[in-house]
Symmetry: D2
Subunit: 285 residues, 4 copies
């Protein structure tokens, strides 16, 4: 006899671009939204009865509609507006999970001036927001947990990175080094203590702190630098309760030029995507 344990359904990869106009001065937001619901849906799965079910197509329409209605300038505030509307109108929903990714558009510099209404996309990093929303029920208030972050942050340091003193056994061939490249494509997310921050300002301060620590740290390992970045982030930003960093070690392998009669004093490397180290941690206060 089969029994439904957990289930969820929703709509993924709903893309929208919003143009915000202050006269001739435009801003653009490009968001990719995901909405995932949990709740009292068992009969939909077990019997095929669709009564009361919000179609995922309706969720998609709601994503666009709220984008128009909402005055939110950040995706975190937008996600809150979206989750509230979806759960108010659908009492069968017990939990709403909203994810948003934002592609970065910056103004084109045309002859030294930032243009009013022309933009160039910048990446590869995208900003992320993640909302876990439990609607008010039976006297209990609604609970919103907001996390913000960044994905695909590709950074590299060419000095102040060592790796030595690790365990050596039959399968260890990696030489110890006092000077290596340290490259990563980081995914970082921080959780707010309260869902009422100035999300854009916190993001700017945290990104500045994270990049400054990455650049300046005398690294003995990816692990140590990751933890130092987390520690500095928590120190600079009292409004966040925790931060999670995943920092794959994207290896740049030194080319053996001695085979061609040349030296290679940490000058010529082969960048690789795979295999890669994968180091991650959640750091709390």
């Amino acid at each position: 006899m089969a029994r439904l344990a957990e289930n969820q359904y929703g709509k993924s990869r709903v893309r929208l671009l919003k143009v915000i106009k202050n006269g001739a001065q435009h801003e653009v937001r490009e968001w990719t939204v995901g909405v995932y619901l949990r709740g009292d849906f068992e009969r939909h799965f077990v019997t095929g009865d669709n009564a009361g079910m919000m179609a995922t197509d309706t969720m998609k329409n709601t994503v666009y509609s709220v984008a128009k209605e909402s005055s939110a300038l950040t995706m975190e505030d937008y996600a809150l507006d979206l989750a509230r509307l979806l759960s108010e109108r659908n009492p069968q929903v017990g939990h709403v999970h909203v994810t948003v990714e934002e592609k970065m558009w910056i103004r084109i510099k045309a002859q030294g001036e930032r243009h009013d209404s022309a933009f160039i996309q910048r990446g590869p990093d995208v900003a992320t927001a993640d909302l876990s929303y439990t609607p008010a029920k039976a006297g209990a208030d609604a609970v919103a947990v907001v996390a913000s972050g960044v994905k695909g942050l590709v950074i590299l340091k060419t000095s102040r990175s060592a790796f030595s003193g690790f365990k050596r056994d039959r399968w260890t061939t990696l030489p110890e080094t006092a000077d290596r490249l340290f490259g990563t494509e980081a995914t970082i997310a921080w959780v707010y203590s309260e869902p009422k921050e100035d999300y854009a300002a916190v993001r700017a301060r945290l990104m500045d702190t994270l990049l400054t620590t990455f650049a300046g740290h005398d690294s003995l390992s990816v692990q140590q630098t990751l933890f130092q970045m987390a520690e500095d982030a928590l120190a600079v930003e009292p409004g966040i309760s925790e931060i999670t960093l995943a920092m794959p070690n994207r290896h740049n392998n030194l080319v053996d030029l001695s085979r061609f009669g040349q030296e290679n004093a940490n000058e010529i490397f082969v960048p690789t995507d795979e295999p890669h180290g994968q180091i991650q941690a959640r750091v709390v206060r």
Copy 2:
């Protein structure tokens, strides 16, 4: 004051291809392996002390070495051999997570005969294995939880799929239909009750059952078909304790040909990748 909550590290995307030779008759296995460790690693993060740490490069070497030594013909058995060796040699490791993906290579049919040593890759689906391994410690036996599955299984049915009776509100524009296309790129994984199955035989039987149910089911919704597939899988295979299916609804949108004076009796569709519905559930006994 910052404090490490969870952490893990490991090596991702270690690719290997093994040629198994029975005389002139060859077989190939192409596996992409990930190894992730948890354990007593806090000082590596906090102080930069690397003493006793297995480098991720050493893990990579071990992946290759075990591939040679092991007689495993399935990735599930290989993963068990790998986790055992890694944990035996590294007592600081408290948990090993191994993931493997297998690309499917089948024999080329050359003039009607399956060739001994020439192969063609088949996909887009890849087979998956996932091992959670807790080494024996202080009298307690080792615990191995093995899951197998498939990823990227792109399937489509052009009849016996309806969707109607769902909730209609201000944001609902989707028409009801008694006849639609039902396409998905499924991700499926099942968990074995005991880690000692004939993994290849179970996989073959389950894939046959899952595809048969998908094809034959009179579908009232993705949810209902998903649950029926799970139910039939659990019924056919007593050695598995649960199954999880994620079935994104990859929409094929009917083209409005009436604008050109043509009918479209469910003949011409636009296949899309985004946005897509996302339906998933875990089903247990």
Copy 3:
């Protein structure tokens, strides 16, 4: 003073899925179509005058409309129908280039039987068609050049492949070998002498010949095997005038297991995507 040299415009990545119904027995075709026009378009570029210009949105609509109207079962025949309609209705068009890629859908085998209306996608190779169409003009007949092919054909042979005798200089480190893996992701296209073939039958015969030669050839180099495949294709199929093959050498690098005290008699390899050799040739009669 700037002057327009060549120009073209069109619509790319127009996806369509056609369901062909013979009672309960369905077939599906999934095509991604590109349409590119050349002709008398200079004033559109130079002055911004759009008079007489077919919008690319109109091309997209035509792609769908012809898919409905046309009785073509192959993408080659469909492409001809599409090019004819586009050029008849738009005399300003001097040349139509149509590209089509077909994803392979095969029937799901449900309890041993091929199902009527349920399908599984197979790849990674996709079938391709390419039509160069010059409409009739001033007494001259229309000219249609049809090419068919395959893209992303991932094949591998584990025996009968050597590579030795090549030039050695200061930068040569590759050892000679009498026994290596030979893997490629081939792109192949053949041109028909006349645009009136049974395209599906020719495709089936050529794929069989190409794979048979790849499998059985005693290869001294990628170059030699490529040429032999071309030669056999031209021999088996009198209706084609030429064939072009691009066979990147996707290297499987032997792992040095001697560092761990193990032998590696061509058993354990690291498959790589980059860098890769790139060998290509056009072969004619």
Copy 4:
């Protein structure tokens, strides 16, 4: 009887990262190099005789070796050094084609200062270089044709873009508009009259001109803006002889919010990747 028409072989996707050190001040170049040779190679294909053939593995090694030896700071100058060495040492080579793509790394701003040796990757656009090199032969001098460009330049303008006056027929459903979004992922390449420019300076000036024209142009069509960009580029830079632009029209579709009782005054769009218009031209003096 089969006969070799054209052929070429080479090495693709050779990635390298070069660290250029001026004391503590570092710079990085990340290049992906392709090398493709044409020449007197027929017997390699036809007979399998490899004598005199430069292995593609040797080309790869040469790419790294020249990266070390060469003092070039631009990929254009590097490509010239590479092509000269390859053809000097291999008289059987009749033509060398070198392609290079450069990922952009900029200094991390750490507490307001550009850091000496820490970098962040910027894209999605990559800079490109393309060298066609014919070695000196029988009294004729070597000929080098250098092109530079950019790929994946994702730009968007939210005003000053119209599209109207185009042809309407049975398949035309696109409304005319005086105000639409205009987004593209441009690929642009310019050819130098002589291979001895300050490539970095020309690139900077041309990118500034191209972006300024894109931003400021009162666009009647993609075609017209493309041509204007070309015309302005040729005007600003006497050292280039031609420029080619491919500007796919990546559509942002206006959402019909009237179905939900809302207006949409060009505010909420759905960005799409497919299908897309494809407009391209080569513009000469």
